[in-house]
Point group: C2
């Protein structure tokens, strides 16, 4: 383990508590002169501020220091298949301003990212900031992403995006690092950070047109070897081989239980419905058939999750995505099958609930991804050294 | 982050490389006087030794220090349903002496643990050590274990063991901490430590009488919320509802594809076979039917693992346990279904292989569990402070 750098100091101060030099020496073992150098560097870059509640004598340096969450701002975006949500946050992940708009992701990367750039510029102006204040951009996309490079990998619902260098394109225009991930991973991050920070093992299940999950193991996102972890939408559901999935295989979970699949079944019966949001509208209006379909969708998803519960033994399963708007009917179906099928030990203290953040989970997680990256001790050390 | 304690120093030196005071100051930022205190404490407890390859002038203190893997020894045991393997290792996990014996785990905890105690005493004498040299005991059991307390939780194949305070019973007699885990978890630990230390996401699948897996996420064991992670043996296999499992549910993977299930099918056809090891013997002797059964077992297991691959996206799946002795026939079946069913991105660089440690994986992992516990910086600090 290296000795305490400026970045380590900042990671100590990130809890928001102000600390004196003496306390920081106690915590880090640094010599007083070394500590002063580090604090000066952090003050110079405004990562920390003299704490306001400390009265200091005239002419003497301030004696307590606190993290400055407004040192930088974060641009966060969550692109779905047909809608986009953008936000600007501070370094605590607090949303300063936000916007939601229709945006078809299949209009291609250059169109979508140009729109993103324009809209971020408007939002920056709204809250009185410029590009120089931006420490990073976090972006969620509705398909598989190679996290290290930020490039989509054969995303089925995003024609034209395969291998597109999203971080280069956006980063060169904004002048800050760009981190990209699967939309469900950032939802899991956002939900964990904001609503369940003490939960060690969490599975966030997004149920929309597609079905996927984001996995938190020991408090950290598990992306898997190729960033493909959580892609449960193409697990085959028993006795559903008559259903054809857009991926080319029969019986995939999302072709059976996703929002678009339910809407198609309603249409076959003469009920007007284009996607998951229409199904939710029908459920809320008391349509019995839509309610039955949603309940069965919960059961089908529960069947796949029951195996994942045996395998992964999470302490919490969080249900989000458009179809989660149907409320208890969906979750009741999920619970029914998981508690019936999974091992007693694995369900003993399992909590299955609706997302507390709902449609803010994605942008919150996109911001958290950037904050964790920018405030990592090594990254802070680089900003204060060069 | 705290400053470098004696334990942190030891964690730096654990790579086996000798380092001078100057190098350690560079790495830790400690003041020279503090470093000397820490080194003296570690030398006193023989956690480190003056490095032998350094020539030092008469009367001056040694100037380089190295980790001492023989400072303490570890007692490690892997209890299966009917066989036990015991080993004594050093702090690098190197096996100093070992023994294998028949032991029926259903003879109850007191009988099994008494036998364990006796046999460890004999092994200690063999390699010239006493109980005072033992820093900890690692034990793997063939059933679910609550890792924090070391107590088995309703283990189906271990009558009499439910809730038995294994660590208290053994610890009070041996005078060292006792860590207990599921046998598959310690196999995953052993395989990862010994054969695949660079693999970040690994799933070790044990195929014996039961079927279960141990999961490594980001290089660390994922035990799940209740220590139940990896219990895939009771996931329901499609179209196998006519098979009754000992757990009370129909169609469980281990009732379809486990060693005992295959042996039962051979017996129904008039072939002599009691369990997985007999099946392996028949395969090796060229019995076509046994070979076909093993291949199909691989496919059934592959079907369950294909979903886990989509969910978890491991970089390596390691196949171990008795039935793995049947060699390529089993693994070919697993590969066939996983590559056919899982998502292309998730299998792009997936490596599916037989365990390199084979039946040593368990004792190695039991020792590793203890070593990681005993050499954790906080734990070392306590030994040198009190």
């Amino acid at each position: 383990m290296a000795h305490a750098t400026a970045g380590t100091l900042l990671s100590i101060l990130r809890d928001g508590q102000a600390r004196t030099r003496a306390e920081l020496i106690e915590l880090t073992g640094l010599a007083r002169s070394t500590l002063s150098q580090r604090l000066d560097a952090l003050l110079l870059h405004r990562w920390i501020l003299p704490a306001e509640d400390v009265v200091h004598s005239k002419g003497r340096p301030p004696i307590a220091f606190a993290f400055n969450p407004r040192a930088k701002i974060v641009l966060a975006a969550d692109l779905g298949v047909s809608r986009a949500r953008l936000a600007i946050t501070d370094l605590h992940g607090t949303i300063l301003t936000q916007r939601t708009a229709d945006l078809a992701v299949d209009s291609g990367p250059e169109h979508c990212l140009s729109w993103l750039l324009e809209t971020f510029t408007e939002l920056l102006a709204e809250c009185g900031h410029g590009l120089a204040d931006v420490c990073g951009v976090g972006l969620g996309l509705p398909g598989p992403v190679e996290h290290e490079t930020g490039r989509p990998v054969n995303p089925p619902l995003m024609p034209g995006w395969n291998g597109f260098p999203v971080p280069d394109w956006l980063g060169s225009r904004i002048g800050a690092p760009v981190l990209v991930d699967n939309d469900v991973n950032i939802m899991a991050l956002g939900e964990h950070w904001s609503a369940s920070p003490a939960t060690r093992h969490l599975v966030f299940v997004k149920i929309g047109t597609g079905i996927g999950c984001g996995i938190i193991s020991k408090g950290r996102l598990h992306r898997g070897a190729r960033g493909a972890a959580g892609d449960i939408g193409h697990i085959r559901v028993p006795a559903a081989d008559h259903v054809q999935c857009h991926c080319g295989n029969p019986g995939c979970l999302e072709a059976v239980a996703g929002g678009r699949a339910l809407a198609a079944r309603l249409r076959e019966g003469g009920v007007e419905a284009a996607g998951g949001r229409d199904v939710v509208r029908l459920v809320r209006a008391g349509n019995t058939w839509a309610t039955r379909l949603v309940r069965q969708s919960g059961r089908d998803i529960g069947l796949v999750l029951a195996s994942m519960v045996n395998f992964f033994n999470p302490s919490q399963i969080v249900i989000g995505g458009d179809l989660a708007g149907a409320g208890d009917h969906l979750i009741a179906g999920v619970r029914e099958v998981i508690y019936g099928r999974s091992l007693p030990l694995a369900t003993q203290r399992l909590d299955i609930r609706a997302s507390a953040l709902a449609d803010r989970a994605g942008v919150t997680g996109a911001a958290v991804m950037v904050i964790e990256h920018v405030l990592a001790p090594d990254a802070v050390d680089q900003t204060v050294t060069f």
